[in-house]
């Protein structure tokens, strides 16, 4: 029951917030209540984390109720290490976003009630997506997450919000439609095989022909590739990020886009292992292109929000590369990357969001020398930026290196080209930082406010986690590793052994010397 409770808490919060009186006089109460519910959800997710038994691995805290018997659809939840990590990410980021969004100015006379309510709805649905172990339930929740984001962009975003929201919606609906076809196909396949069932555990044992498997795989993969987003299906993201509020961007890129890569792991690799392997050369190529292409496009952006969006295209390339390299090292790296990228991008979107709100412009050219008047903001931007360029000692480095090292054992060319990303990342971050923060103070920025204490409090958790997990990622990896091992053995792959392994006795000797 605890997973249902976990998903229901923010939904209940959304309901409560909607019922609260509207108007600017009550805005503080509304935000405080929303933050309260999100904090409660976070507490619950920590309970889930604590109750998850790492030793035995697998799916735990499962719930199963029949939902639509004729279809074989079940209300079935459960978490493994991968889902758990993403649920934790979601529940950490929502309070952070709500706190950072305290001073967001909303367009027109939009009420803050529905703004925060939609965010809470999104949180509840995201938790459901990460916990669903029934394909039908997953699909329904997957599509349902479009609704809150559509309204968050379309009602509360910038001047181009309507265009961006519609573009977001249509793009993702196309992907969803293909997935729907595959979902229908799955029913046919599993019904033909005996009992119709959408349960993950049943689907993994369904017999299907190679062609069927590949077609169904493509249906799922199309939806996930658009969501993730993978080159060349990425063009909705920069537009959406440029028009959304910073908080919405965080939820969209850090949490909801992860459903794409999460889905690849759970559904593509889990249910269609053969087809995943079949498609892997193409997917790896697209992932490597994403890494380099996203980074190059980021270098050329003038709008800070579009820049961050393109860095994410590059980072998602790494995540997808690690997943389709089919090694435990790279896949564990990808899973950790999902978490770390969430933190890093959240910090980046939020701090640049505050900068943009103060300046009234997102153009890099409108900033300059801000460091002089806002040293704390400059420091936060630098740390967030350094985490985005994967500086060792910060969390994303660990995951990025694992992805690269694992991929290297599978494909040297893919790893080598992907490693170019670390040089390009230094360019897109440091060029932006130099233009915005250094040099003489630009005219019109004299009264620029540094971060206030509430803003620091909102951002601090992400920064603390970024540094902490950079030096000690093991608590996360301990949870991730068993789940990843399962997925990789499902695909029938493993880590290629070292070509000339170190002599074990030699290693034992050097280790002995150390104690």
């Amino acid at each position: 029951m605890i997973l249902t409770l976990l998903a229901a808490t923010p939904l209940l919060g959304a309901l409560v917030v909607t019922c609260l009186p509207r108007g600017s006089a009550n805005a503080s109460t509304v935000k405080a209540v929303a933050i309260g519910f999100s904090a409660l959800t976070l507490a619950l997710s920590l309970v889930v984390m604590a109750r998850y038994d790492v030793e035995s691995g697998g799916y735990q805290m499962t719930e199963k109720h029949e939902w639509i018997g004729q279809l074989g659809a079940w209300y079935s939840l459960g978490v493994n290490g991968i889902g758990l990590v993403l649920i934790l990410l979601t529940t950490i980021l929502v309070p952070v976003v709500l706190l950072a969004a305290w001073d967001d100015r909303l367009p027109g006379r939009r009420s803050v009630n529905s703004y925060v309510a939609w965010m809470l709805v999104l949180e509840g649905l995201a938790i459901g997506v990460f916990a669903a172990t029934d394909a039908f339930l997953f699909y329904v929740l997957f599509e349902a997450t479009l609704i809150p984001i559509y309204f968050l962009i379309g009602s509360y975003g910038g001047p181009q919000r309507t265009y961006a929201a519609v573009k977001f919606l249509i793009y993702n609906l196309v992907g969803g439609l293909l997935m729907l076809a595959a979902i229908v196909g799955l029913y046919v396949v599993s019904a033909k095989d005996g009992n119709a069932s959408y349960l993950l555990s049943d689907l993994q044992n369904v017999d299907m022909s190679t062609t069927t498997e590949r077609l169904l795989f493509c249906g799922f993969m199309a939806a996930f590739a658009i969501k993730a987003p993978l080159f060349p299906f990425h063009t909705w993201l920069p537009d959406a990020a440029a028009s959304a509020t910073p908080g919405t961007s965080v939820l969209m890129v850090s949490v909801i886009d992860k459903i794409g890569t999460f889905g690849m792991l759970r559904w593509c690799l889990g249910v269609f292992p053969g087809a995943s392997e079949w498609a892997s050369p193409v997917v790896i190529t697209l992932a490597v292109i994403s890494i380099v292409y996203g980074a190059l496009c980021a270098i050329g952006q003038d709008d800070i929000r579009r820049l961050v969006a393109f860095t994410s295209v590059s980072h998602f390339g790494f995540i997808i590369l690690g997943i389709f390299a089919f090694t435990t090292v790279s896949t564990a790296g990808s899973t950790l990357y999902m978490f770390n990228h969430g933190l890093s991008t959240a910090a980046l979107f939020l701090v640049t969001g505050l900068m943009i709100a103060r300046r009234g412009s997102a153009s890099i050219g409108d900033f300059g020398g801000v460091q002089k008047v806002a040293p704390i903001m400059s420091g936060v931007l630098l740390v967030a930026g350094l985490s985005s360029l994967s500086l060792p000692g910060l969390a994303p480095f660990v995951s990025e290196f694992m992805v690269l090292a694992g991929t290297f054992t599978r494909s040297v060319p893919a790893a080598a080209v992907a490693t170019l990303g670390i040089v390009l990342a230094a360019l897109y971050i440091l060029i932006m930082y130099a233009k915005v923060m250094t040099g003489p103070l630009r005219e019109g920025l004299e009264g620029f406010r540094d971060l206030g204490s509430r803003e620091v409090a909102a951002l601090a958790p992400t920064l603390v986690l970024i540094v902490g997990l950079g030096f000690y990622p093991q608590p996360m990896l301990n949870v991730i590793n068993p789940a990843v091992d399962e997925v990789i053995s499902q695909v029938g792959q493993g880590d290629p052994p070292p070509r000339t392994p170190v002599d074990v006795s030699e290693q034992a000797k050097t280790e002995e010397g150390g104690h």
Binding site: P392, F401, F408
Partner: protein, 625 residues
Amino acid sequence: MLDLVWLLVAIPLVSGLGLLVWGKEADAWGHLVATVASAASFVLGVVAFIELAGRDADDRSVTHVLFTWIEAGPFHVDMAYHYDPLAALFVLLITGVGTLIHVYSIGYMAHDERRRRFFCFLNIFVAAMLTLVLAADYLVIFLGWEGVGLASYLLIGFWQHKPSAAAAAKKAFVVNRVGDLGMALAIMLMFAQLGTTDIASVNASIGSASTSVATAMGLLLLLGACGKSAQVPLQSWLLDAMEGPTPVSALIHAATMVTAGVYLVVRSNGIFDASEAARTAVVVVGLVTLLVGAWIGCAKDDIKKALAGSTMSQIGYMMLAAGLGPAGYAFAIFHLITHGFFKANMFLGAGSVMHAMDDDVDMRHYGALRTSLPITFATFALGYLAIIGFPGFSGFFSKDKIIEAAFGYNVWVGLGTLLGAGVTAFYMTRLMMMTFFGEKRWRDEVHPHESPLVMTIPLMVLGAASLLGGALLAGDWIVDWLEPVVGHTEHHELAIPALAMSAIIVAVVAVGATLAYLTYGRRPVADVAPLDSQVRWPVRAGRHEMYGNEINEALVVRPVQHTTRTLVFLDGRGIDGFVTGLADRLGEASQALRKPQNGLVRSYALGIFAGATLVLVALLAVTLA
């Protein structure tokens, strides 16, 4: 004590981060805390060194696992340190010179309102540099490696309000990242090939892999070393890095961080021993850089840039020595240490001169400063005599050994290092003459004054070390000390006795110094530099740093900018254009389909008539056929 070596890193790290977070209240005393932290690390370093020296030669190494950093599947990296004779020397150099430079900076940065932050960054640098040399795993080296890169970035760009400083910082980081690309790939190759990234295991078992793997690994590591140590072709960032405060140039861009590349090669001696090709590449890089750096040093009028050219050149010597394999490793480290003393000394001396000259760095505005700055002059002179290799000074011993070993390796390489020694004497004498001798060329409003004691005491200490550093070679101590780590073989017998070799080197040095004296000591120096068009091409090339920036600009920067612009355009018009175009066509198609639905009964009737006719015709056609 050897189980507490991690404290060496922890103390400056905690102090640096703590002071950074503490805030303004720490402005008054933060620099003192930072200095004490660095000194505490030095004291611990000395204690650990004594304990290590007290052990038997084959027992002088301690590996200590602090915790597991990363573990997933077969990938396992421990956060562990490895304290051995090589690391011990570096610890002393880093914390010793580091502490002196902390002390010096108390005076040098006294009037900077962001002094506390400066000291935080210095502390963080010390911690990262110690991590680099103490690491027991290549990935942990990489952590320190990029950590010092970050500290360097922050400190070069310390005066961020100057666009030139910000640009130099960015450039240093990006060029270093190109090198780091090599290092990252080398580590991945280690994991894929050997299944471990532990330094000891990799170097012990690389022999079981093929030579081509060792060569690839060596070349990739060399790429990393080139970035960090400003070796050709990744040298372009170092001269720009002189935008940072002078103590930073002394500590990071002369004495310690830039020598990390040499450390990496020496530390990876197993890999380089296994590949002749990789060693040759190291020698070539070292030789080219030592000549290019010396050339640049001859042409620069900016005192710091002249010294920076010299740093490149001297690191070229070390790199070359490291490329000679077991015959050269110990001498590379020996020169690295003496260079750490005399170059830090001269950079701090240059800082003291700048302090006196209102931050003017142009040597053409100096002259005759020996009387106004007697202590700075005296200590600088010690450094000068050391670097040119004046008999008895530290540099004499360390450079001699490298030149000898180079001759033992190959005559042409030996001649290159000999030429380098002559050019070194030339540019250093030129610098000396232009700064401290001749006529005064400063403007009237400048009143040179000696720096306060807090700045001159470190100068005196480093001056003494420049003089006495050669003592490390007494009784071949440093060679024996390092032998358990890097091994040692004598180089090939030279055709002439070692003493004659030394005499030849000293003669070449004397020629170089005399030429500079005749050009810059006997004749007045113009206080305005002649235009590019008035000087011959070698000077022009030196002034433009052998056109390194222009080459990078043409080969890398502009192509990347061009690609970036093209891709941004294509992304909008091409990919997104296709998608939005699809949407537009769909819209147009709907518009076209909407047209017939015009609400007029007669047009509908016409439609029905046309349809019925069509059906009729079709039916007839089918029946008749």
